[in-house]
Structure formats: C-alpha cells, structure tokens
Symmetry: C2
Subunit: 296 residues, 2 copies
C-alpha cells in the first residue's frame, strides 16, 4: 500500500500556529526520510484564503529533491496551476466536492462547474508533463446535506473520469465512512475509472473508523492512502475531533499485517513528536503515545 504524506499541506492548513518555512522544509524531508515516495508539499491557492501556506513557492524552492519521490501541490484554478508549474511540482492535486452545497462553500461553484474546471486543469497539467490526481471531497457524507447517495457519487466519478486524470481519489472529508462504505464507494470508483486510472483514498479518523477503512481499502484494491504525520490537520466541521489519519498509525497497522508501505515506524513516531513540539500541542497519533510493538 502506497502512502501519500499530506501533513505539510492538509496537516498545517487549519492550524492556528504557523510553521516557519524552515520547519515546513524539514517536515517534508522527515516524511521522505521515513519512506514517503509522494508528499503533498503545499497548496497554490490565494494566500488570503490559506495564510498558513502563503510561502508555497519558498517551500518548494528549498525542498531538497530526492530521486524517486514525487512532490505535489494542490491547485484550485488556472492561476494556481501556473504557480505550481513554475514552482516545479511533480504532481498536482485538483479538488471537486460531491455535494453542491459544500462545493459552493469550498470553491464558490456547483459540483458540475467544479468538474469542468478540473477537466481544464487536468488537461493543462498533463500537457505540462505533470502527474494529475483529482480528489472528490465529501464522497462519504456532507456536513451540510448529510448522506451523499452512491448514485450521485457515481455521476461525479463519471464526470471526473471523462477528463482522464492519472488518479482519482475519494475523500472522507468529515470522517463518517465505515468499511462497508469503502467497499461500496471505492469499489464503484475503481470499476467506473477502469485500470488506466489509479485509485486513492483520503481518510479522516474523526469517528475512529479510519484504520478499519484502510483495511477495507486494501481489500477492495485501493492503491494509495493519504495520511498525515501525527494525525495533524483537524476536521473543520468537528472542531474538537480528530482529523487526518496518522501516518504512523497506518504504518503500524500495515507493518503488523505484513503489508509493505516502505515506511519506518520509529522514524515517523520521532517526527510526530517533533511536529507536536513545533505546533505546541498534542496531536491525535496513537503510536506516538503508545509506541510500537514489540518494543525495539
């Protein structure tokens, strides 16, 4: 199972404490050193929208590139894509949201409008030689509309697949999915997308289901899971709850199950503790509290 490390982007973008550019560069280096082969480094959105990532170009310029690692940036529009290309990313992550209400609030357009924008961005990014991945937010439930029907999600997947991205991801943005949802919805996406388009899941542990969902993802054939060192990055719709699943929690799970992730658990735990110090708060990581087993 491949892990895409998202702490530098999704992990930091909602934090009240802003990390220095130096610390962000170190966080990326730590992820790579722990075995990550894909890292979402930053977001090329307007600095006013996400001031935490206003130094996107600086971070990309100072990251020491390691061969075999893909460095990614999130883009929402043409301007963001221009910046990402200029900054030298290897891949771009493009977002649409499965429910109209949430999509309007997130990017000020309907889901179908967002799919059209995404198609244009995929086409241009592909022409620029970049790997393209499209994430469908709220694929398992919407904080405003509640349940998102599978039939609706299937329609959104069909529209996204039309643009032929290299990869398609479903995001459990508010952490409501259970394993049967993963089987149904990731299974649907994989079937609709076909073998030419990679499959990825973005899981949140808000309701303690992310690790169970990761096991279901493995069973249904998902290739890549997003994860965040320390579990950094909360759930904006459940302010006191856990957000992104912790990379080290996934590393423990898959390690003990004999599933290769290429990740080093002790190195991840060390980085989770380092990130807690930098952010000045405890992160939700279970493994940073409990340690691995059996002890080294």
């Amino acid at each position: 199972m491949q892990i895409l490390e998202v702490a530098p982007r999704d992990g930091l973008q909602n934090e009240s404490t802003q990390l220095s550019t130096d610390d962000k560069v170190e966080l990326v280096a730590r992820a790579v050193s722990a075995g990550a082969r894909r890292v979402e480094v930053t977001s090329f959105v307007h600095p006013k929208a996400v001031p935490q990532l206003a130094d996107a170009e600086d971070v990309m310029a100072r990251v020491e590139r390691v061969e075999g690692v893909r460095y990614a940036g999130l883009v929402m529009n043409e301007r963001g894509l221009d910046r990402a290309v200029a900054a030298g990313v290897d891949e771009v992550d493009i977002v649409v949201v499965a429910s109209d209400t949430f999509c309007q609030r997130n990017q000020n357009m309907t889901t179908w409008q967002a799919c059209d924008v995404a198609a244009g961005l995929v086409s241009r990014a592909r022409d620029a030689g970049l790997f393209t991945t499209v994430t469908i937010g709220a694929s398992f439930g919407c904080p405003f509309e509640g349940d998102v029907p599978v039939a609706r999600l299937r329609e959104v997947v069909l529209r996204v697949v039309d643009a032929r991205p290299d990869e398609l991801a479903l995001a459990d943005t508010i952490g409501v999915a259970v394993p049967s949802d993963i089987i149904d919805r990731a299974g649907c996406a994989i079937e609709v997308a076909g073998p030419q388009i990679g499959s990825r899941l973005h899981l949140h542990d808000t309701r303690n289901t992310a690790i169970a969902n990761a096991v279901a993802a493995l069973e249904v054939g998902v290739e890549t899971l997003d994860a965040s060192i320390g579990g950094a990055g909360g759930c904006p719709f459940a302010p006191n709850a856990t957000g992104n699943v912790a990379t080290e929690d996934l590393a423990y799970l898959f390690g003990r199950m004999g599933v290769d992730t290429g990740l080093d658990l002790d190195s991840l735990i060390d980085s989770a503790v380092w990130l807690e110090e930098r952010l000045g708060k405890e992160l939700p990581s279970a493994l940073a509290r409990a340690g691995g087993f059996p002890p080294a």
Copy 2:
C-alpha cells in the same frame, strides 16, 4: 453483534478518581438504558488490590435489575466466587493470562496454574447456576515477553476449553492486535472451542486498531465484544495511551454498517459526557467529540 459493557469494572479500576457507589449504580443503569444486555458491574477481588471497586457488594445490592440483562462480576479465586454468588451476580468472569511472566505479575502463578484455578472456579460457578466466561489475557502480545506465539495461545485455549466454560474470550490487554491477528487467533479459538462455547473479544484501542479489529471479529464469527462507555479504562502498560474501545465508537461503526447491536448511540454519547464529568477528565471516545452522522 452483542456488546458487553465493561466501564463499571474495567473502566473504573485504574482511575485515580474514585466514583461514589451512587455514580457506579447510575453508570450501570445508563448502560442498560442505552441497550446493553450484559454489564460487568464490578470485581470481587481483595479491596486492597483494587480499592476503586471495594464497594462491590453495595453496588450489586443497589443496582436495579432489568429482565433480560445479565449482571457480571470478575472473580480471581474461591473467596471472590463466594462473594459474587452471595452478591447475586448472573455471570462470573474468570481470568488467565497467556504468558507466564504476565500471569505471575497479575495473579502470582503460572499460566497452567491459573488454568487449574479457572477450571475449579468454572465448575463451582456452574454448580451455582451462573453463566461462566473465561478471559485469556495478553492473547495478542505480552508487555514483558513480547509476541505470544499462536501455538502457545492454542495450548492455553485447549486447557481452558477442558473446563467447559459457557464462553471463552481473548483479550488484547495491551492493544497490539491488528485484523489479521483477529482472524488467526479468534479463528483458532472458535475452532478449538467448538459450537458449544461462546466467543468473545476484549479489545483495547491503544494503537488505534480496535475498530478495525471489531470488523475482523464480525467477519470471523465472534459473538460478543467488550466495550467501555467513553473508552474509560486506560492501558496500564502505556500510561498516556487510549485503553478500552469506546462503546459509542462501536455503536457508530456497527450502526452505519447495518449490524444490529441493540445500542442507542445518542444515549451512549450522553453517558460518555456524564462519565467525563464524574471522572473530571476527557475520555478517548471519538463519538463524544464528533457526534453521530447524519446529525439528528
């Protein structure tokens, strides 16, 4: 899936804050009111060993019995069994530990000696008309010896099964199991025990795997899972870590998967918050933080 509520015993026995007898009686009533049909009410061990549960007889005497609910007590020896019978429990939980080192520290005897003691207790409790359940501690790993081989666990299961208890449980006492372990070990126990002996699992969420393990338990045919309101009850071998899996987290999981537990999620969340107030601390429950989905 049947849930055995263990907050009144396992949830409270390591807490520094001692609940009043009134509060313990209320906790049991809350569990039953939320749908629990088995509750581990208390422990009949020496009050010096577990001062938190020194009022075992008082709690049992004051619990208002509801038809169809079984009220259980933990017993370690003959004296404890006498007290449990006198107190009017419906079932007794008897413990052995799969590794000798841990068994010596827990009950001052080897695993085989503990199996002999358990056999005597099962026989006497059965004669007294009680339901008997034996829990094998450290079935998935030992804090002192590390990995516990499946072959060793199988031997312990064989010895316990010889005593013909009504039910046999494997406990992940230190929270190290992953789903493949559940399939292997609970599968082994179910096969060795045969259809006449019920199967139960005691899961800890120390390394964030309890919910995934609960799904594996469902797949392999485990009938009953222990859980604790709020996730009360830490892991004594990982002091800062999460312990018992939270009842409401399991209720959310199974509820969204369409698996009947008879539990009411909102009632459990309400009781988790009540227990946090009584203990004066935040408990690990994810659902108490995030709330159910879709919102009521």
